[in-house]
């Protein structure tokens, strides 16, 4: 029931909340979960480590996570959350070039005319472990649920279903594997629920999602020319070429989701939801920031009297054409399908417990393929595996104003030892979360939530061998990761 004592009029409140929701949609980053998946909950959900999903009473995150549960919300409810993530990534280990030696930095010697003399200056093995590869950023998440009548409810949300970021030093020993990786998404959703009866409801919705991706890494061109699959087997010392390829792509795509909610008893709510795979064909461009020799290597014919107009790269890998001045780029990064079973049980009017199991079809992510003008530039295999996440958590209402909550979640990584790399050095993780809500006595329709979640991430072994056309280097090390998420939200019933 709408509170008659609101200081602001209902219309004013609605306008402000819609403005807040719209504002929160302007920027999005990521709070990393398994691989590049991101939990899509408000602050209360983070405080319970996602246990029980959106089956909690009056939880507007049902608008995306399980629209069927909107049927059991009898007020307009809006919620704006801001999550600040601080993820730490540190690499420790070695990187070996394609000749089995520690990755070194080398330069060509040039004569006064600027032509190479043939001598190589060896600056020794690179010792830079990449620095702090993590990040700290904030992301907003917003939900709005509006009952239309006794059976139908409508929901809107802004979520971030996918995101990841790693930023390693540009001159680190693993520069041939990754320097920058950034995946950012923002999804806007609309959903409807239908209450079949007082105990059972169904719901569904659609999402329009905008995805931006950016990756960069060094291309060791001369090393690539010396790999076994090169048609120009020079065996040149690696570490000479400084050619940073930067790929920037984006796309807008659509998907759907559905769910059911069931109250078998007055104290239990069960829900199951399914979010379909979102096919995401990304388009954009790439360019290469190369030193002069590498630029010439990419653009000048290698030896016209013998090879005609072919560049060294074209000779080494027939069909591969890299344009340092930029060209179109295409890739694909689907959001995997997922399904979640949620359960919330009210032990009494103070204590409730929730549990969830989520399956994510990460096996749909086989490879990262980069194409340009119909040609395949590189295919990096990932071969992810399906994952499960288990969570349990609860709420304890201390007073009418204050509710405390906590939860823990175990989240499997979809990555494999053989293909895990420095772009997404993911490991199994455990979320341990705490939080609370405060409902103002003077404004009982308004509650403020806060949550803190710490991620304990298993060490991620990196034993990846790079693609030949990326230089064929090998990583042998591990990434230690940990994460903290601080979350704040305001929830308003009107």
């Amino acid at each position: 029931m709408r509170n008659k004592n609101n200081i602001l009029s209902a219309n004013t409140h609605r306008t402000l909340w819609i403005a807040a929701l719209a504002g929160s949609m302007l920027a999005a980053s990521q709070v990393q979960a398994g691989a590049f998946g991101v939990p899509t909950y408000g602050t209360p959900g983070w405080g319970r480590a996602f246990a029980g999903g959106s089956m909690w009473k009056n939880d507007p995150s049902a608008a995306f996570n399980n629209p069927a549960a909107m049927a059991f919300i009898d007020h307009n409810v809006a919620q704006v959350s801001v999550h600040h993530a601080r993820i730490s990534l540190k690499y420790k280990g070695n990187v070996y070039d394609n000749q089995g030696n520690p990755r070194s930095d080398r330069d060509l010697e040039f004569d006064p005319a600027g032509n190479p003399t043939g001598n190589i200056i060896d600056n020794g093995p690179i010792t830079n472990d990449g620095g702090q590869g993590g990040f700290g950023k904030a992301l907003p998440t917003s939900f709005l649920v509006m009952p239309i009548n006794d059976r139908l409810s409508f929901g809107l949300s802004q979520v971030v279903p996918m995101g990841a970021q790693t930023t390693w030093d540009g001159d680190w020993k693993g520069q041939d594997f990754a320097v920058d990786t950034k995946i950012e998404t923002v999804g806007l959703t609309g959903s409807l629920s239908f209450k079949v009866n007082d105990a059972f409801a169904v719901g569904g919705g659609v999402i329009v999602q905008h995805t931006k991706g950016f990756i960069s890494q060094n291309l060791d061109l001369l090393a690539a020319a010396g790999t076994p699959s090169s048609q120009l087997p020079l065996g040149l010392p690696p570490g000479i070429s400084d050619a940073l390829i930067r790929v920037k792509v984006d796309n807008t795509s659509f998907g759907w989701f559905a769910g059911v909610a069931w109250k078998p008893t007055s104290r239990d709510t069960l829900g199951i939801n399914y979010h379909a795979r979102i096919r995401n064909k990304l388009e954009g461009d790439y360019n290469i920031h190369a030193d002069q020799y590498s630029y010439d290597l990419l653009t000048n014919p290698l030896f016209p009297p013998v090879f005609g107009d072919a560049t060294a790269i074209e000779l080494a890998f027939p069909g591969l054409n890299l344009n340092p001045d930029g060209a179109d780029a295409k890739s694909r990064l689907d959001v995997p399908a997922s399904a979640t079973l949620d359960w919330v049980h009210e032990f009494n009017d103070r204590f409730s417990l929730g549990a969830s199991v989520t399956w994510t079809q990460w096996s749909s992510f086989k490879e990262l393929k980069l194409e340009s003008n119909g040609n395949t530039l590189v295919v990096i295999p990932y071969d992810y595996k399906d994952t499960w996440m288990y969570s349990i958590g609860g709420d304890y209402r201390v007073t009418n104003e204050l509710t405390l909550r906590a939860g823990v979640a175990l989240d499997q990584t979809p990555t494999r030892n053989s293909t895990r790399d420095a772009r997404i050095p993911d490991g199994d993780r455990t979320f341990v979360s705490f939080g609370g809500s405060y409902r103002f006595a003077s404004e009982p329709n308004l509650s403020i939530d806060a949550a803190y979640s710490h991620q304990f991430v298993d060490k991620a072994r990196l034993r990846t061998v790079n693609q030949d056309r990326l230089g064929g280097a090998r990583m042998d090390g591990e990434v230690k990761a940990k994460g903290d998420v601080f979350s704040l939200s305001a929830t308003y019933k009107f």
Binding site: N115, G118, L232, L234, V306
Partner: protein
């Protein structure tokens, strides 16, 4: 008188040494002209010091008496830089000299060896390794193989890192 005796002794020694040297001199026998095929690995400024492995074919003839053979043509083929060298100093002369194991394996030299690669600025430096240079080689009768047992330096900062060619038609005795 003493001087005459000394001359006679020295002469006898010289003749003796000559006879001894003739007794161990190598003789190349077999078909002439001959062909040797195999691989060669070379490095130089044009490869930035990296070894480039190529296929190689020698065509030659055994010189009169068999003490040496001329390599009249050298054809290098293969991918990448293998197409670039120009062979210099032909004919190269193969001269086996001493055996290390009673006639199965012979050490010797190939003289006149050299090659050049015209540079392609700004990508490929030139290699001027014309020399000519004499390199040490090893011949093995059982497999009719000519090879180098260690890297052989040429002029102009070039090296022959490996050589392994077979000439089934010839032997060294």
């Amino acid at each position: 008188m003493k001087n005459n005796k000394l001359v006679s002794v020295i002469g006898a020694l010289a003749i003796g040494l000559g006879i001894s040297g003739m007794a161990s001199a190598a003789t190349i026998t077999g078909g002439s002209p001959f062909t040797a095929t195999g691989t060669i690995g070379v490095s130089g400024p044009s490869s930035f010091g990296a070894t480039v492995n190529c296929n190689v074919v020698f065509n030659g003839t055994i010189n009169a008496g068999g003490a040496s053979a001329n390599i009249n043509t050298v054809t290098v083929s293969g991918s990448g830089l293998c197409a670039l060298p120009s062979i210099t100093g032909l004919p190269w002369t193969l001269t086996p000299s001493t055996t290390t194991d009673g006639g199965e394996t012979w050490l010797g030299t190939v003289s006149g060896v050299g090659f050049t690669i015209a540079g392609a600025p700004p990508l490929i430096p030139a290699s001027n390794c014309a020399g000519p240079t004499t390199i040490n080689v090893q011949w093995t009768n059982s497999n009719h193989t000519l090879r180098v047992t260690s890297a052989q330096a040429l002029a102009g900062n070039c090296n022959i890192r490996s050589l392994n060619v077979q000439a089934p038609a010839i032997s060294v005795n």
